[in-house]
């Protein structure tokens, strides 16, 4: 129903009017050792899209709270959050449209987990930066944003894509927190994105339609689920993903004090967990061809017809 390119907008290879180095104030050697080191300095850059992805417990499995930490149990197999797959797809389409560039993944975990990243790499992302550090366990949204921002900064992206919220924590604040920490504009709830001449044109979901927003780059754009069809990884893609670079970096490598993230840095605490009042189930009947009559009676009793 919706594509990446709004009608009437032409796409062309992005030609930022600045070099990729001084734009971020970084020098190339800082980037060495990270996945984002493939850019050659001083030339017009191809389009670099960073997509933030989260590896989460499978939402199809019943979740449970860890009795000690009182947060979601994560010591299970982690998968790519489906709501991030739309950002990956959007990024791949934008890079295709630009003609040159790549999608780089940025993610964080406490335990070196990469299975979810491999899914996104199999879709077509080129490489990943994985911030992995035991001290990250228990990080709240703001701490997560600080870590992601530090990792993203070193990727020197033209555009940063995220989901609107994760499917396990669903705070929905990380994209904007990242933007604020990086002094960048942000557009949340994007349903379409086009990039031309260093400007992103974004259709942003609103209560009763959408706004068309122009945004200078770099920028953070959160992508609404369902607006593109995430591609299924091909067999070739899955094989290729096994050899794509995933550069693991710890907090020290990013210059982040471990006491500011994870349990140590959390600015909030759970004070109570209680069973919510249950809603009583009513009558359940099997349709014998007359169920619509029961519904009509029910509606009549409520006097809503």
């Amino acid at each position: 129903m919706w594509g990446v390119v709004p009608p009437g907008l032409s796409l062309s290879t992005i030609r930022p009017p600045y070099s990729c180095i001084d734009r971020w104030g970084n020098v190339p050697k800082i980037r060495s050792g990270l996945a984002c080191s493939s850019l050659s300095a001083g030339t017009l850059s191809p389009m670099i899209v960073v997509v933030c992805v989260k590896q989460i417990p499978d939402p199809a499995d019943p979740g449970a709270l860890d009795p000690e930490t009182r947060t979601l149990k994560r010591d299970v197999k982690l998968i790519l959050d489906e709501s991030d797959s739309y950002g990956v797809e959007m990024g791949l389409q934008l890079v295709d449209a630009a003609g040159e560039g790549e999608v780089r993944l940025v993610s964080m975990v406490p335990n070196s987990e990469v299975s979810g990243l491999r899914t996104a790499l199999a879709m077509g992302a080129e490489n990943a930066v994985l911030v992995s550090d035991e001290a990250l366990a228990g990080s709240d949204a703001l701490a997560t944003a600080k870590v992601l921002a530090a990792a993203i900064r070193r990727c020197e992206p033209d555009l940063i894509l995220t989901g609107t919220e994760s499917s396990d924590g669903y705070t929905g604040t990380v994209p904007v927190q990242v933007a604020e920490l990086m002094d960048l504009p942000s557009v949340t709830f994007a349903k379409e994105i086009a990039v031309a001449d260093g400007v992103a044109t974004v259709r942003r979901q609103t209560e009763d339609g959408y706004d068309e927003i122009e945004c200078s780059l770099p920028a953070v754009v959160s992508v609404t689920a369902g607006v593109v069809e995430p591609r299924y990884p091909s067999f070739k893609g899955i094989m290729a993903a096994k050899n794509k670079p995933v550069d693991e970096v710890d907090l020290a490598g990013l210059g982040i004090d471990p006491s500011t993230v994870g349990w140590a840095g959390a600015g909030q605490e759970i004070t109570d967990i209680a069973e919510a009042p249950a809603r009583e189930a009513g009558d359940v009947i099997v349709d014998e061809g007359d169920a619509h009559e029961r519904i009509m009676e029910f509606l009549d009793d409520l006097k809503v017809l």
Binding site: G209, E214, E269, I295, V304
Partner: protein, 321 residues
Amino acid sequence: MGFSKIWIYGEAKDGVVATTTLELLAKARALADTVEVVVHGDASPLAPDLGVHGASSVLSVGDLGEGLPGPRVASAIAAAVSTGSGPDVVLCGTTYDGRDVAGRLSAKLDAPVITNVVDLVVDGDRLLGVEPVFGGNTDVTTGFTGDGTAIFLVRPKSFAVEETGGAPATVGAIEAGDLGNTAGAVVKNRFVEESFGPKLDEASIVVSGGRGIGDADRYEMIETLAALLKGAPGASRAVVDSGWVPYSYQVGQTGKVVKPTVYLACGISGATQHLVGMKGSQNIIAINKDEEAPIFGVADLGIVGDVHKVLPKLIEALQAR
């Protein structure tokens, strides 16, 4: 020091205060002596309604021009906090712009946000947020550990709107700082999508379709039924993610929270994601092929059957009225 002053991020459209803002006011004024609302643009037209609902002042951050609210509103609140004239607590609705404001403010103040809040409770001199998890079968209560500004993102429809009969709110202003690159997003055009009947979150009857509808074309059945009942059509996340209908149709954790008189769930299994958004409905009717579907656990009337058989007959019966 507790919380004597609460600020609410106030949203309005065409000079009319958003329901979510009035809901937050109803709760805030029961918690603190001073409740003020931060808005953008001309605050005067909003002052009477905000006052009637319990706000003592309305503070404008100025005109946004083409800009988005997030950067300017967050900057102005943060500036007030830094000079000591800011609030103890900031409440934002979980809306498109409310999340932007809360997220930016959080980063500016280096203060976390407690999100998805459906209730606020007092615990000594601090305020705690209650968040439903696992489809609403568990309530998690969370508080801040520091003494910084407490930011809460509160879900719409968490509190009932209530008038106090107060005088119009005093109109004031607060200044944003330099927005730097954060002001780089500008609105060029606004488009209103064609829609009929009542809004999803205001309708007294909501008819929602899920994956059990089968395919995109058959969603029309849901719209027909909604129109006949003078209600609004809704959808599960599965249907929205499949691209059958726009995101604005989505009921659930990631979509809208609805509390209509009647909620009719058609071909919806009742994933926790969905239940959170509709469990508060006064009456729930569910039609699903699978008798084990969790939706039947919350339904007042459950029909184990095929939506493609039940709905056409229901539509016919309604048309005959």
